[in-house]
Amino acid sequence: MKPRRRAGIDTGGTFTDAIVAAEEGSGGVGGWQVHKRPTTPKQPAKAVLAALQALIPPPAAVDLVHGTTHATNALLTGRLGRTVFVTTAGFADLLAIGRQDREALYALEPRPPRPPQPRRRIVEVHERLDADGAVVTALSQAEIRRVVAQVRALKPQGIAVGLLHAFRNGDHEQRLGQALQALAVPVRLSSEVAPEYREYERFCTAWADAALAPVVGPALESLERELQTTWGSSARLQIMRSDGGSCGARAAADGAVHLALSGPAGGLAAARSLADARGDGPVLSLDMGGTSTDVALLTEGELPLEPMEVGGLPLLARGLPLHTVGTGGGSLASWDAAGALRVGPGSAGAEPGPACYGKGGRQATVTDAHLLAGRLHPQAFLGGEFPLHPQAAAQALADLAASAASPVATENLALGILEVATAGMERALRRVSLAEGWDPRQLKLYAFGGAGGLHAAWLAERMGMPEVVIPPFPGAFSAMGLLAAPLRRTLVRSVLQPLPATRQRKGLFDPLVKQAVQELREEGLSRRQIKIRRVLELRGEGQAGQCSLAEGPKALERFHQWHQKRFGFQRREQAVQLVSVRVQADGPAENAWTARRKRRRPAEAFDHRPALLVESGGRRRVPWYQREAMRPGHFLSGPAVVAEYSGTTVVPAGWVLEVDAFGACCLRRESS
């Protein structure tokens, strides 16, 4: 019998990327086969299945791990199921009021983002708990019947129940939930979806889960059906979750809020798994695409999972940390009224795109600056399938230069654009690392996305970072992360008590462990295959900043060390509060990274072209290398440019690049 094959397929804004481990003799590069095709926005499943077909012809025992944008897009566009929200009497408007702040401080006509939940589909219920979870107003059977009748009349497709203080005591929510089951639509309880304090955030999370269920569930079920029809009944669909793990299609539909960042999580999970394979400590990731750049700090050990925010809506479901910067390859350059150079926030997007795409764009973008500076190869972009137009880029930059207040050479302008774009990225990278108490000089930079490698060494130089790692297939790296994603559940519960002694903490974790294990067993795992990680989320009594520590001895001492590192002082007299306990349950992880034997030898250039490298000072002819032709152990010295199907890497003078055992390009400063 042929072994099962695993495919990772990621639906992106422009492209759908697919990757599989190459079979013997299939001619794949570095052990992988990659396929990219345009996304089919109206029916994303079409491109997903076509991409799979290209790599694994049916029938086959295939495990398809899918990074989906369904949940994200549904939240961003508001195309959601008809939802009824049930809440404590007096608080029907809570979802509409939110935290009463406005997103744009200086908007004269602010439109703060809030859940699109019309008031007429909110039902108030007479009940009340106090801050300890004790009953102030009991929930009567008559009231439950009244609420069910009122909800039924609203013909919901999904129901969310959010009651004040339910994270302390879920009894009222559960009784309502049981009664509402009679309506045979998904019912979500805030005390189950996100048993954490802060009512708006918890309600919003439960609401999003209920509103997504009727949209995401059927879409995933139909994809799985089609998969099994074509590839055979043993084919299985798994979905990437925001927490970097995966789950079966059914479980994904049952907890759609966990898919809110399904797409980007793949890249972050892959970066962390490559860092683990390479033995790297904490790393900063930089994912630079067409319209924006995502940066994240990925610490080792416990995953740095955080509550998420999508389209301005807070979701307590934990996801990998992600910070979006408004600069990508398509960001537009312009002069401000006082003659200073700005890059972004406007973007040429995918249509018309940068001027050099030749699709009608006239304004200079970051990508045009790269091309003019000779850092992109007009005939080697996307493996030559997508020729770039240097004249168009030059014209756009010349137009911008001509409109400058004082004369500026086009080339200097191109470099200026790249400088400003890089400074913006540096600020974002600093914010995410320093905010967590990490000095960037202690971190390695993992850069991917089509344009990550163009800025990476430059950023590392500026920030004093020791090493840059450009993973294989940087432009399809999110799909790579899907391959490595284990089945996972992340469960969190607020505790809000002084940190109890180790022995007493077990009781707090046990119910979460039991639930996570049960859910994973329903996905076909045995208890022995499940690995449990227990995490304490701690903070100083009354403080906002909190840290995640692995459950274990000396938690208090480790907390004080963290406080010192992050804030520069300790307050040992202050009580330490256990904010919440978190359980991460993982199935067996597929090891995506197999070390190959390295043979040290110089790489061979395929071309020499003049390039302007700010990192190296001035324009000069530099060698160009083809990444696909490089094997573990190949090395080269900067200045040089490495072209690849899905991304380009600049190696400045004074830097060396070597392909490591996993096929990643590692850039380091030349030792003197």
Partner: protein, 552 residues
């Protein structure tokens, strides 16, 4: 080392000035941002950590603002008044931290406690780092320190610029005085510690910038940033019609003082003439000129087509007549606690109205015009639990504009603080929130209707002193372009079945079981309402249900 330095010089030399400016702007902004993160994460009180009522700034060696991380517009234009006031009174050396809150000597209002530290490179004072956080209490007659006083003495502890830390050594006496004069002194001390820690973080980052760019480069970049801000504001003024306009509005605080403004835009300078504004009043409704500048900065930022840098350079192209001793440029010992939060909102309305006259542009109707400051405090009956004190500001209706209806129940203009979650409020304080709702029907009618205010009703589980400091309690926010005014706010006190109206600025003693309800003002409507049809309300998420409950 020498090689690294050479590399730096090489790359710097190749940059055009326009580029270097923007690069340095990012780098300095990241110093301020990092201070803000450090402060928010390590502070103790909900007002700082949850509501983010603070700001952080980097100033040059003379005290000109070069970078700012603020969530609070009311702090925007005030930072550059601080360092000159400090330098006039004390000598600053390495390792010093100066604390102050005197509104007439570098502060804003007493609750905003400011810490400032010089940053030295060798013998040169290259910069100052500073942050300002609103402390929930600073002493005075009433919990929360924002009501009941007739002058500054009554508003609470007033700190002129004094050393909090000298040469790295905490001045214990000052800490003790500070802690002894504010309610819940432990939390106050914790917040102040966090403010100092944030300064340390800022200093570390400044040092890294000096190592990287060199002191000369950094210093000239700061100068260039100020010039750049100036040039941008000049360009903004030049793009506006030349000419004059005026507006006036009164406050419904005691004595209904008037703010009168004439503006003149000519040759890249904007003249603001506040002559004719009422004299400073007894009570807390006055502002220092710093707050007047903050309001102006906010308005310019909101009207500018692209972001104005938050530097004091951006304010250079302004001329003004600010009558000394008036409501909006008060002098010692004028009380100012409410001026910061209320008069500042009215200043925005006056400025927007005057500029609407000049620009002839469609400017939205007035927003609620108040911050609805809700304050209370007392002692737990269980003596082990000590004191409690609480402060928050409430959102209201935003003014409608040419693009659509005003948002409901949202913070407007000079503040953007978040609310305290009910679950946090009830866990930490002896209260039960009975209702939090949109106050339907309170937005002014119009072609686009004003946003509705909100209702918050709180039941007290212990006896407490409560005050509501608010305006727009007599007249609502005016509409624009033919729209109607929003409803004025109403604050009530329920004792059993007895209901009383609270007067703004009044403090009352409530018993356990009493309830206080704030109903905040709606925003003004925009455009004439069609005769028969209902005002258009598009369907943003916060849109009201026409069939919803009637106004409370």
């Amino acid at each position: 080392m020498s090689r690294a330095r050479k590399r730096k010089r090489n790359s710097a030399a190749k940059l055009t000035d326009a580029t270097r400016l923007m690069v340095c702007r990012h780098l300095l902004a990241s110093v301020a941002e990092e201070m803000g993160l450090a402060l928010q994460q390590s502070a103790i009180s909900p007002n700082v950590k949850e509501r983010r009522d603070f700001s952080c700034a980097v100033l040059d060696g003379r005290g000109e603002l070069v970078a700012h991380a603020a969530h609070i517009p009311v702090h925007l234009g005030s930072a550059h008044f601080t360092v000159p006031a400090v330098l006039q009174e004390v000598e600053v050396q390495t390792g010093d931290v100066i604390v102050l809150n005197d509104p007439h000597r570098g502060g804003t209002h007493l609750n905003d406690v400011t810490v400032v530290a010089p940053f030295w490179v060798g013998k040169k004072r290259l910069a100052f780092l500073m942050n300002r956080a609103h402390h929930a209490d600073i002493g005075g007659a009433e919990p929360g320190s924002m009501s009941g006083a007739t002058d500054l003495y009554g508003e609470g502890l007033c700190l002129p610029p004094v050393h909090l830390i000298r040469g790295g050594k905490p001045m214990e006496e000052v800490w003790k005085i500070f802690q002894a004069n504010a309610r819940d002194g432990e939390a106050r001390k914790g917040d102040l510690l966090a403010q100092c820690a944030a300064l340390n973080r800022g200093a570390l980052r400044m040092q890294a910038l000096v190592d990287r760019l060199g002191e000369t480069e950094l210093s000239s970049a700061m100068t260039a940033l100020l010039d750049h801000g100036e040039a941008l504001t000049q360009a903004l003024f030049r793009s506006w019609p030349q000419g004059q306009a005026q507006a006036e509005l009164s406050l419904d605080g005691p004595g209904t003082p008037l703010i009168r403004l004439r503006i003149q835009n000519r040759g890249g300078r904007l003249l603001l003439d506040f002559r004719g504004t009422s004299k400073q009043v007894a009570g807390s409704w006055n502002t220092h000129r710093a707050v007047t500048f903050s309001a102006l900065f906010y308005v310019l930022q909101a009207l500018a087509p692209e972001e104005l840098p938050e530097t004091s350079g951006s304010l250079r192209p302004l001329s003004w007549h600010l009558p000394e001793g008036s409501l909006i440029a008060s002098t010692f010992p004028a009380g100012v606690a409410a001026g910061n939060v209320e008069t500042s909102q009215r200043l925005v309305d006056v400025l927007l109205q005057a500029l609407a006259g000049l620009l002839g542009r469609d400017i939205p109707a007035s927003s609620q015009g108040s911050m609805n400051n809700f304050l209370f405090g007392g002692r737990f009956s269980n003596p082990e639990k000590g004191d409690f004190v609480y402060y928050e500001t409430l959102g209201g209706g935003a003014g409608a504009g040419p693009h659509g209806p005003g948002a409901d129940a949202v913070q407007s203009h000079m503040t953007n603080t978040r609310n305290t979650p009910i679950e946090v409020m009830e866990a930490e304080l002896p209260v039960r929130v009975r209702q939090l709702a949109i106050r339907r029907g309170s937005g002014g009618r119009g072609l686009h209707s004003g946003g509705h205010g909100l209702i918050k009703e709180v039941e007290f589980l212990e006896a407490a002193r409560v005050s509501v400091t608010a305006t727009r309690r007599r007249s609502g926010a005016p509409g624009a372009a033919g729209g109607e005014a929003g409803k004025a706010g109403v604050d009530s006190w329920f004792q059993g079945t007895k209901k009383r109206k609270l007067t703004a600025g009044q403090s009352v003693a409530v018993n356990a079981g009493d309830r206080i309800r704030l109903a905040t003002p709606g925003g003004g409507g925009w455009g004439k309402a069609p005769a028969s049809a209902k005002a258009k309300r598009s369907k943003p998420p916060q849109s009201a249900d026409p069939a919803g409950s009637a106004e409370h």
